[in-house]
């Protein structure tokens, strides 16, 4: 456990690789759960070694005496997976099944874009697009009920609309990179793509696109083709999310065209909040890669992350006086 600048990090060693972590929607006010995609290298290879685990989080957090509050991850259930998990998402609804609800966008390096839905104990999928391997996708994210964005190898981001024939609506221009993660702000006015690896270097770069100006990527972090920009991390950016906890420096964010603060994690162990035109706020600088993180939607001050060295980290930021309890 370490504390600095009003932040508190708990490290929970897991004895197996943790590939992704997510907060789960709580069942009651006192229970908090996280889901983790794990991979155990110690088990025999012919048995299942990957799983999704659900842990309850016991943060008897006492701001008066933080050293004596003991966080505990308690394994509640484990679901074996036939192969190693590359991406993990949690449903925003409390229903047990996704029935009648949203579909999952599934993209692959084989160039297929599928919509997967769960119907009566089986998975249905609908092929939206097949690039026959000419384009490979590595990230996807819903934007609205009908629209979603995909990213992969290339110079931009694809914007899809299910209502349009063929689905593909437009390509957003960027620089050469690989995209690992995409997120949308709570307000649907902007969207963001998270690339890195510009030509000739591998500086971690985060872009934002305004839906109304698709051909003008906005550089949030990293060095652009003109050599300008502020770099938070020089390595791969693994995940990005809009950070609703960090107060935007422009107070009237709703009316301004400024992009909300964004949290990112990287291969060189940085967890930071970046904002257009502002100096980045570094939350963590670890000795190993931070492969994934998730901001708790119920308590946006709390962040769960997974570290390369078989550890789940829980970062508690100082809660804002009023908003935390409202």
């Amino acid at each position: 456990m370490a504390a600095s600048g009003g932040r508190l990090l708990y490290r929970c060693p897991q004895s197996k690789a943790v590939d992704a972590v997510r907060w789960l929607r709580p069942i009651s006010a006192f229970d908090r759960f996280i889901a983790a995609a794990v991979h155990d290298t110690d088990t025999d290879t012919d048995t299942c070694s990957s799983a999704v685990e659900i842990h309850s989080v016991n943060l008897s957090f006492n701001p008066e005496n933080p050293d004596h509050s003991r966080p505990l991850l308690h394994l509640r259930s484990s679901w074996p997976s036939p192969s190693r998990i590359s991406s993990l998402r949690t449903s925003e609804t409390r229903q047990k099944h996704l029935d009648g609800g949203r579909e999952c966008v599934s993209v692959g390096e084989d160039g297929r874009v599928n919509l997967v839905s769960i119907a009566e104990m089986r998975l249905d999928h609908r092929l939206v697009h097949d690039s026959q391997g000419l384009v490979s996708y590595t990230a996807a994210r819903w934007g609205s009920q009908a629209e979603f964005a995909t990213g992969g190898f290339g110079f931009g981001l694809q914007w899809w609309d299910q209502r349009k024939p063929g689905g593909l609506v437009s390509q957003f221009k960027g620089w050469l990179y690989l995209e690992h993660a995409i997120d949308y702000p709570p307000l649907m006015s902007h969207k963001e793509g998270y690339p890195n690896n510009k030509v000739g270097g591998s500086s971690g770069t985060v872009f934002a696109w305004d839906l109304r100006r698709q051909q003008e990527p906005i550089l949030l972090s990293g060095v652009g083709p003109t050599g300008t920009g502020q770099s938070t991390s020089e390595s791969e950016v693994w995940e990005v999310q809009y950070d609703i906890h960090t107060q935007s420096s422009s107070t009237s964010a709703a009316s301004s065209t400024k992009i909300l603060p964004v949290m990112m994690c990287s291969e060189d162990g940085i967890l930071a909040v970046i904002e257009q035109g502002e100096a980045p706020i570094e939350l963590l600088a670890e000795d190993c890669a931070i492969n994934s993180f998730d901001i708790d939607p119920q308590n946006p001050s709390d962040v769960v992350c997974c570290l390369e060295w078989e550890t789940i980290g829980i970062l508690l930021r100082q809660r804002r006086a009023i908003s935390a309890y409202s």
Partner: protein
Amino acid sequence: MPGRPSDTKDALVPFPPEAETVPLYPVQHGVKPPIFRVFVSWSRGNVLQVACIRPIEDESVREERNGAGEGGDIGGKVMEVKLGASDGNVEEAERRRIAYGSVAPFALLQSRRNSLATIYRVSSSSSVTEWWQHVLEYSKSISELLGNTALPSSSVIEDPKMVFQATARPTPLKAAWQLMEIFYVDRHSFPWILECLVDWLGEYDGLLSDTEVIVHRKLVKLQEKLVNVQVIEDDSEYWEGISSALSIGWLEVVVKLLRLHGSYQLDQLDSRETENGLVEAVAVLVSTMPRMRLDLPMGKLGQCYRTKPDFVKGLEEMEGLAQKCMQLKQCPTSSGLVGLLIGILGESTEVVMAECLKSFGPWMVTHSLELLTTDSDQTEILLHEERYSLGGISIMELHRLIYAQVLSSHPLTWQIAPTYLVSCPKQGLGLLEILLYKQPLQNHVMILKNLEICRLYELERISSCVKEIAGIYHWKHGRKGCGIYWFQQAHDEARLNHIAQKLFECVGIADETSKRWEGLIELLGPEVESAGGLGFLHKYQNFKKSLQKVKDASSTDAAQQTVELLIQVKLLNWRDRPLLNVTETNLLLSKLQELSTAKLRPEFYQSDLPPRALSSVRLALATNLSRTFLEG
């Protein structure tokens, strides 16, 4: 243990029936017979990679089978077989936890060594002091990693019969590290080294041996007895326990034991007053025993003296302890800790290293060698001297290389091996290149992590190799876009040109097919040069676009642009097949005509077209037209 399959007919490789002791590892390949070939190769660590391949079927046969609904048979499968039984998962995980945690202190110490070496060219006293402090800091962080020191009991009410506090069993690794820290690093404690040893024994005596009679075991046994025995002083083990504890300086235990003496009991006090007085006097004496140390932790007895004269006495006692240890040497079951202690007291670096390796493994040797060199130039030379017998590397480097190989053999720890390899001046970099080059690249994330290490250590050649391997892997699996991306990143022009030739055959003239290529063109990016031979796709797209413009609104500008593109492209002269259909060619020809007549107009702006451009394009278009006719 995997058993012998009852039906040996299923075995891929027949084995002789007399081979009873051969361990068998069943492989569940799930590939339908017949199996054409089995490939076996080493993967990471003790994992074998086994590939079972079916014979290649004729296209017609496969289609027939697919038609009959029997499709989906896999042509082969690659599996991994882990050899040897794992020795308890928890231990392995703990070993990795220590490995992860020691990376940062080790790297910090190396960088400090390097910066000190540049500041002070010759070893001065100030550099020695500074270095010693860095090593102490390093030692403390590693020690912390190995477990917490037992804290004194904080309970308010003490059980008088609990003479001996049972704490969580400390690890031998921690004990060994602490021991080396006492003797090699912690200069503050050098004058009080005996007292440090007493403290060390207090914590780790229980680990010294599993079978021999040691003070710890003696006291634990006595403790069990205390609960039942009334007149304890009649028991010889009571007195033995007291003298044993006293001999290694566990004063608290001695005083507690003394106060359990029968004369303290209320009903006895009157009749045994003198006896009790004597015992109490001894207890007081013991509890004020002079101790040669700076301070005492809470709950410890004795009086601290910081003066030197007692040091001699301390040395004598230490010799006694050493003698005792030497005697223990004969016993075959002595644990690694005793061996280590003998090595340290005998001032033999070789023995210390050998014991570390034998009992605690490569991690311990690699990390503890840093402690050994702090105080002795001789040891420094011994460890850093390049040896012919080791192929020109030093003992230090040898141990680091061994440890790095252990790390490299595990999928979760290979990423920290580079830290140790780069600290090996002779062979480290070569092995690092092999390590990165040999990493499996099926996983997209793994490729990026691998490239990140290449970038960190400026291994551009390996980085290019890795990108090429990734490109070939993806291309072979039909992920053309991924493959091209990696070839482009690796600046592999030869392969890009080769791919360009292949793709050229597929690029059609119909609009619906050209749409398919848009994603790929997008991927190639605006810089045509980096795309190698694939640049033709760009030109093709630009050409198609401007042709569309010409169709939409006939204008001189658009026509001119199209002509320019045509001149660049040479697409028209593509030998395999025409790329424009009859209508498109006719349209272009008429636009060309427009351009020629435009020259006659007064407002005509003389463009910088090559002089013979128009006629060459016209010729190319005409050829194209005739070929299109023939094909149609």
